[in-house]
Amino acid sequence: MSSIKLRASTKDGITTVKTLISHPMETGSRKDAKTGEKIPAHFIQEVVCTHNGANVLTASWGPAISKNPYLSFSFKGGASGDKVGLSWVDNKGEKDTDETEIKEIK
């Protein structure tokens, strides 16, 4: 199962991409309630979004992005059936990627 929920819809020549990523986005400041130890930082550092293979957005994140990050943005163009991809890499080198097809909204 992917950590990424990705939706891309197009209307009037603008494609909107929305994504929700499952990730703890630990800042490294939070203490474990039971042990009192700091939970190590574990957060997504880079997100890359593509449209038919071309970069449309690169995001660099710090740990202050909320847990289970939400991201939404739009780009000009995009047709029904085009591929939109999203990949992320975190500070531990863990990564995930997903792809969806643009749906046209009438």
Binding site: T27, S29, V56, L57, T97
Partner: protein, 157 residues
């Protein structure tokens, strides 16, 4: 946390096929995947150092063409929805800074040629502070800020 690790491990082994496809189709090129994270900028404790680390300068020009959509009062500092948009042309990047966070630099978005200068995400805020949006256009940095009151801090520190 272990279930998360297990899920990521399983996902890693299951997704190796997908990742292979992604690499071959250029979805996740090695260059993109290994692009350096601006560690000094993200770990800077003041805004000027963060911006210098990211852009090589902290010179900002105030602009009323940048709109920040954020709650006046955030009930939960762990999840504060922020949208930044502008009608400026030639926007190269949008950066979000939470002035009073331990590390003010929160996120930076580099836009593709066809991408609209309009991004939305959710950030953590440790306490009431200004959220500052910086737009890079024509090699220059423009900014605006909006105060967001936080009732319960969201950084856990």
């Amino acid at each position: 946390m272990t279930s998360m690790k297990r899920r990521i491990f399983l996902k890693g082994s299951l997704a190796s096929g997908a990742l292979g496809v992604a690499v071959s189709t250029g979805l996740l090129t090695p260059r993109t995947a290994l692009a350096a994270w601006a560690k000094e900028a993200f770990e800077a404790k003041d805004i000027n150092s963060a911006l210098s680390g990211l852009f090589g300068t902290s010179d900002l020009t105030a602009s009323d063409k940048i709109k920040i959509k954020a709650p006046d009062i955030a009930e939960n500092g762990a999840v504060v929805p922020i949208s930044v948009s502008t009608d400026m042309d030639g926007v190269e990047s949008i950066t979000i800074v939470a002035e009073k966070n331990q590390n003010p630099l929160t996120a930076t978005f580099t836009l593709g040629a066809t991408t609209l200068p309009d991004v939305s995400t959710r950030i953590k805020m440790g306490k009431t502070s200004s959220v500052i949006a910086i737009v890079k256009s024509g090699g220059k940095l423009y900014s605006t800020g909006k105060e967001v009151k936080v009732t319960i801090g969201g950084c856990g520190g």
